[in-house]
């Protein structure tokens, strides 16, 4: 006998001791699929035959079974299960996980069981045990269906058991092998003319007339209807006729809507209330022959609640489908598909308040659904409702998959008045209160997390670091919808082993050459404050793309996600000035985007760091110079009296000179700022725009493009000076060293050496995307005024870059991942997870001077 069981089910083996359950299970299932009560007895008590621990053993068994079913794994319970009360919790368990309970009964003569048990020295119980078990089994055999088993296989006798084969079948909902492309059509509600128009717009060819329509697509696109083809509208029978033809002949899919099912129940003679537009459909159907009504009833009855398509990446259901229910089968899954979930409350119009499952949705599959009319189809956490209320005078909308394009046609008229008030302009019903994209959930960020990135595999975030990041993110960061990127930290070049300072281009060049990178780009490092610009062509575009309704055209934030400016007007002015230059240059068009994310340095340093300058740098400067100046003066006097003071005088004069150099070092990066005109913006990388993460383009492109941008506002935008270097050419390298020396001698901060091609991989994985090479004078600000004293330098050379470099790569991976996810229009929580991760990593302890 061939037993068919659903791919995802809870298989309950039923048979007395010695009936061969374990042998049967081992023959047909994976060892890990089988949960044996005897094994569980052993797990909790070291004795697989210990009857005293039955309760504990079954707790273990049911717990594991529950976990497996939640993960979508077929599970077999190998226990006698001869009493209804022992089977009841198993049926319950299957229901809880929305999969089908299957019973396989091994009905073996008592004699056989007894002989088998007798041959095993670990089974010492008397013959009456098997007799009782068999009696219990046979007494309840006919009640199995009533107990809730959906599929029951009884194998009578040893031969039947021997001969049995098992075939696993797919669920009705499982069409994962169909990869599309699909055109998914929203709630039609009898709007036949609009449907035909929409199909035409999508490139489907509708032939024949309304009484015998046929539809196909020259490029083989398949139609998927999200249900509610009927009721309220003018031509429900024609819509159904077309849909049925498409399903039968062109491989279309129709998932049923609540209206479709109610109509079917009415046609099947059930007592249903003739409300919500059913009357119109019945009236229209009255014009049709009886055979058509029967055909409709039978057809709709056979529809499957929801479908999984494209390898499980796409789920279509009338009212949506939460992750836990996808690909499952139970009454409540079907109910969810048809009606959604309600909170049990009703709104002011007496309609049930729907549970907003989409705002909680964190599944990886795209879910397309209808059911609740919305003025505009919008993505929420990877789900989209495409019921745009055509029958109420809105639009009929289709989603092209995998393109994710929306195509719609306006309603020809308002066919039916909504119970809820109509929207003022579109005529569509008022939208349920839900913003563009949804609120983040604490579960999206807290605890130990492992984030997959496309450039560097997984990045692990420690729980305590996430906790710290939560505070920073909640208290200080800009709205997460703006926060599409945080910049990674950058390591310095290897420490010079000798010489007057800690960093020199020599080490940076050697690092790249030895990593197998021939071409680098040297970029001048501006000493200001790091700033990320996220901006759009105008406020409306920003609202549309970022979903933030704060009326801003863009934001500027710091490397930890804080607003750069406290003054909103200043921020708006800065954003609009940058946007103006972008517009003048035609960069929007050139990059085919209406928004950009730029990495930049905002000058002067004192604009943002004034408090730090006053409390720290200027304070150290004045404290050091005044004390030492007086000391030198007095030592000069002392030397006159006592020549042995000369050494101390020289030493102190040298210290004084270092303090004065320190003051000179920070002064270079300060100038008074009264308003926007005193600021300078030096963009050095175009991170991303619509459809593309530019951060992965070569740096020469960035430099050239941004120099062109700066030329459109040369007073205010600063072009970064740069130099391409071929590291296999000593002449070029020497020129680059000179370039650095000249700049740092003139007080420049230094330079950043970047792989010309970002994301270059060397022998040991990703090469550092960039290393910085800071000037000797600039480093006084970092290492303290007196770091250049020989005894100090020697000790500082012991610094280690390992952690910093590892951190730089992990943060880069997360930052780029955030951009990719945003560009790919992934849900907010997916973008936020990465940005949050960068912040969490930043709380790892690393020497801040690096």
């Amino acid at each position: 006998m061939n037993l068919t069981i659903p791919e995802l089910s809870l298989v309950v083996l039923i048979g007395p001791s010695g009936s061969g359950k374990s042998t049967f299970a081992a023959k047909h299932f994976l060892p890990t699929e089988v949960l044996s009560s005897d094994v569980c007895r052993g797990l909790v008590s070291d004795d697989p035959n210990n009857q005293a621990v039955t309760k504990q053993a079954f707790q273990v068994l049911q717990h594991i079974a529950g976990l497996r079913l939640a993960l979508g794994r077929l599970t077999v319970v190998d226990a006698t299960n001869v009493q209804p009360e022992s089977r009841k919790p198993l049926v319950q368990l299957a229901r809880e996980h929305d999969c089908l309970p299957v019973a396989i009964v091994l009905n073996v003569p008592a004699q056989v069981c007894r002989e088998r048990n007798a041959s095993r020295d670990d089974r010492s119980f008397g013959p009456h045990v098997v007799r009782q078990q068999l009696a219990q089994l046979r007494r309840n055999l006919r009640g199995l269906r009533r107990e809730g088993f959906r599929s029951i296989h009884v194998l009578d006798g040893v031969e039947a058991i021997e001969a049995a084969t098992i075939e696993r079948t797919k669920l009705w909902t499982d069409h994962r092998e169909r990869t599309g492309p699909f055109d998914i059509i929203g709630d039609v509600h009898g709007c036949y003319d609009e449907l035909v128009e929409l199909l035409g717009k999508l490139g489907h060819v509708v032939e024949g007339d309304a009484t015998a329509p046929r539809v196909h697509h020259p490029e083989g696109r398949s139609l998927v209807f999200v249900g509610d083809l009927v009721d309220r509208g003018p031509r429900s029978p024609e819509v159904m006729r077309l849909a049925m033809a498409a399903v039968r002949e062109s491989g279309a899919i129709w998932v049923p809507g609540n209206h479709d099912v109610k109509l079917q129940r009415k046609l099947a003679g059930k007592d249903v209330r003739i409300t919500h537009g059913l009357a119109e459909t019945l009236e229209q159907l009255a014009q049709e022959p009886e055979s058509f009504r029967a055909e409709v009833e039978e057809f709709v009855r056979g529809l499957v609640s929801h479908v999984l398509l494209d390898g499980g990446q796409l789920v279509v259901a009338h009212a949506g489908m939460k992750e836990a229910y996808q690909g499952r089968a139970s009454a409540r899954v079907r109910d969810f598909a048809l009606y959604g979930e309600t909170t049990g409350e009703t709104d002011e119009f007496g309609l049930p308040v729907r549970f907003d499952w989409a705002s909680e949705y964190r599944g990886r599959a795209t879910v397309v659904y209808g059911h609740t009319p919305v003025p505009e189809a919008q993505w929420v956490n990877g789900t989209i409702c495409i019921d745009t209320g055509c029958v109420f005078g809105g639009h009929l909308t289709a989603l092209r998959y995998p393109e994710r394009e929306l195509v719609d046609v306006p309603a020809h008229k308002t066919w039916y008045e909504s119970v809820k008030p109509l929207g003022t302009t579109t005529g569509a019903p008022a939208a349920p209160a839900r913003p563009y994209d949804d609120l983040l959930d604490l579960k999206d960020v807290i605890g130990k997390r492992i984030v997959s990135t496309r450039i560097r595999g997984t990045v692990t975030l420690r729980e305590e670091n996430a906790a710290g990041a939560l505070e920073v993110m909640s208290r200080f960061a800009v709205d997460p919808r703006w926060l599409v990127y945080l910049p990674p930290t950058m390591s310095p070049s290897e420490t010079c082993r000798e010489g007057p300072s800690l960093e020199h281009p020599r080490e940076a060049f050697a690092y790249y050459r030895e990593a197998g990178v021939p071409h680098v780009v040297c970029e001048e490092k501006h000493m200001g404050s790091r700033s990320v610009f996220v901006l759009a062509r105008d406020a409306a575009t920003a609202a549309e793309r970022f979903g933030v309704r704060d009326g801003k055209q863009g934001v500027v934030y710091t490397r930890t996600g804080r607003p750069f400016f406290t003054d909103q007007d200043l921020e708006a002015a800065v954003i609009s000035r940058v946007a103006r230059a972008i517009g003048k240059m035609g960069l929007w068009e050139r990059l085919d985007t209406s928004w950009l994310c730029l990495d930049a340095e905002l000058l002067p340093w004192s604009a943002k760091a004034q408090a730090l300058l006053e409390t720290q740098y200027a304070a150290v400067g004045v404290a050091g110079t005044t004390g030492l100046a007086r000391a030198v003066e007095l030592l000069d006097q002392a030397v006159q009296r006592s020549p042995e003071c000369a050494a101390l005088r020289d030493r102190t004069a040298a210290r004084q000179a270092m303090l004065e150099d320190f003051v000179a070092a920070y002064r270079r990066y300060c100038w008074p700022v009264d308003g926007m005109d005193d600021l300078r913006v030096a963009p050095f990388q175009i991170l991303a725009g619509e459809g593309k993460v530019h951060a992965e383009r070569d740096h020469a492109w960035h430099m050239e493009t941004l120099a062109e941008l700066a030329a459109h506002d040369p007073e205010w935008l600063v072009a970064t000076t740069w130099l391409p270097v071929d590291l296999t050419d000593p002449v070029q390298e020497a020129a680059a060293v000179r370039w650095w020396e000249e700049r740092t001698a003139a007080g420049g901060e230094g330079m950043v050496v970047k792989c010309r091609e970002p994301l270059t991989r060397g022998r040991r994985g990703l090469v550092q995307p960039a290393v910085k090479c800071r000037g000797r004078e600039y480093l006084r600000i970092i290492y303290g005024p007196e770091y250049t004293a020989p005894e100090n330098l020697e000790r500082l050379r012991g610094r280690s870059l390992h952690r910093k470099r590892s951190l730089a790569l992990r943060e880069l991976a997360l930052g780029l991942e955030a951009l990719h996810r945003f560009v790919d229009r992934e849900p907010l929580y997916r973008v936020h997870e990465c940005v949050f991760g960068v912040l969490a990593l930043e709380s790892e302890p690393v020497d801040p001077r690096l």
Partner: protein, 464 residues
């Protein structure tokens, strides 16, 4: 950092005997944190000057230190190597220990004699400025001359630095001068480079033996010297007061004023908590969550009332939560009480299923710490998803700020406040939130009412 001590005592060169440092030498002493040098720029019969120059090791100071907040550059670039601080006190005790102890083999009688001294310390970081410098040294008989340094001459707009050149002139015994500096320099700086413990109390009492009792600022000196150890400071005061028998209730005028301000604040805090409790009781709430619980004052009050069967405190800062657990003595709580309390780390801008199922939620002085643009997220987290039957929100009433004399117009009461609302602003916000999420809103005053400006705190109560 440089300290010079000059005298015009005759012969002035006896200064060498007093300090036990030969005037013709340049001596260097190794200290744990660097070096100290002693030299004499001048030494004649009329006038002699000794200089103590500190030469701290800026790299050594921060090596291997894993202090909290180590992730900032402030740890590495700071004024410590260059200013008069507790490092100077240690240097005095180690390099000029004999002189401070009044021991002088060469001129024993001179050590007991008050001689004309002229002392310059530079730079002195003085919290409290020139006023405090004078209040500390003038009562000890010094003529004080103070010059303040600008932060940076190139940027006059940056204003003054916290550093002073301090010159003290007076007839003093050397040992007294040195103990004055030993105690008062760190008091002006108000920081210590080492951990303050019981030994520090003994040091203060010993060094101040001859002069601290009678010093009008002795309370401030004790408090600041025993840096961040109020218990030790109280102990010091008890001993000082006992010694001279002054009525312990007598307070300086300034101290009394400070306390008034403090009491005002405490009273408002209490009134706010009282008002919140009243609303919670009236609502019959049993399960209450305090969102943004801080260090847990409201939680303590809730736990003291049996009506509140389940009390949860949530805060966004893990540090603050730890502090709350400590303050509430969670570890020592009897199990019955402990069971009623739960502390959660969470945020008001992230939805959190743990926040569901409460009778009431309190947001006491919380919303003003969020940017206005993030309030929308808070609204959804609290009113759409957590949905307690009662929500209590308190926030400052900005109209009342006009009554705070020390508060400049247009500024907020707390540096982290992102906004402060008028009564009208709160009411408009609250009404809109209530309408949107199916609550009724009402408004209550908290604190002493002004006829036009209302109360210092305003409260919105939302009921579903």
């Amino acid at each position: 950092m440089l300290l010079t001590i000059s005298t015009t005592h005759h012969p002035a060169s006896d200064l060498g005997y007093l300090l036990v440092k030969h005037p013709d030498r340049c001596q260097t002493f190794d200290l744990a944190f660097g070096k100290a040098h002693v030299f004499y720029p001048e030494c004649g019969d009329e006038r002699c000057t000794a200089a103590l120059l500190l030469d701290l090791d800026p790299v050594g100071l921060v090596r291997g230190r894993k202090a909290p907040g180590a992730a900032t550059l402030g740890q590495y670039v700071n004024d410590r190597p260059y200013v008069a601080s507790s490092f100077l006190a240690v240097a005095i005790s180690q390099v000029l220990g004999s002189a401070m102890g009044g021991r002088c083999k060469g001129r024993p009688e001179l050590a007991e004699q008050a001689i004309p001294l002229d002392v310059v310390v530079e730079p002195v970081p003085a919290r409290g400025g020139e006023v405090l410098i004078r209040r500390l040294f003038e009562p000890l008989g010094y003529e004080v001359d103070v010059t303040r340094h600008a932060l940076d001459a190139a940027f006059p707009s940056w204003g003054e630095s916290p550093y002073y050149r301090v010159e003290l002139k007076g007839q003093q015994r050397m040992r007294d001068l040195l103990t004055h500096l030993y105690v008062l320099v760190p008091v002006l700086d108000h920081e210590k480079h080492y951990w303050v413990d019981e030994a520090e109390l003994a040091k203060l009492l010993a060094k101040g033996e001859s002069w601290l009792q009678g010093h009008p600022e002795r309370e401030l000196i004790a408090r600041r010297y025993l840096y961040r150890q109020p218990r030790l400071a109280r102990q010091a005061m008890a001993q000082l007061v006992e010694e001279d028998g002054v009525d312990p209730d007598e307070k300086t005028e300034a101290g009394a004023r400070r306390e008034d301000v403090l009491e005002e604040r405490i009273r408002l805090d209490d009134q706010r908590r009282g008002a919140v409790l009243a609303v919670l009781k009236e609502a019959g709430a049993r399960r209450v969550i305090d969102l943004g619980c801080g260090e847990g004052k409201l939680l303590r009050a809730l736990l003291d009332d049996k009506q509140f069967e389940h009390v949860v405190g949530m805060d966004v800062s893990p540090r603050v939560l730890e502090m709350a657990a400590k303050r509430l003595r969670v570890e020592q709580m009897p199990p019955r009480k402990r069971e009623r309390l739960q502390l959660l780390h969470g945020s008001l801008t992230y939805r959190d299923e743990r926040l569901a199922g409460f009778d009431a939620a309190c947001l006491v002085e919380v919303i003003e710490h969020l940017d206005v643009s993030r309030l929308q997220a808070l609204e959804r987290v609290v009113f759409e998803f957590a949905r307690p039957a009662t929500v209590i929100v308190t926030t400052p009433n900005s109209e009342y700020n006009a009554l705070f004399e020390t508060l400049p117009a247009g500024s907020f009461r707390h540096a982290d406040h992102r906004f402060e609302w008028t009564r009208d602003e709160l009411q408009r916000w609250a009404q809109a939130v209530a309408d949107k999420h199916g609550y009724q809103a009402r408004f209550l005053p908290v604190g002493p009412a002004h006829p036009e400006l209302g109360t210092p705190t305003q409260m919105a109560v939302f009921v579903r």
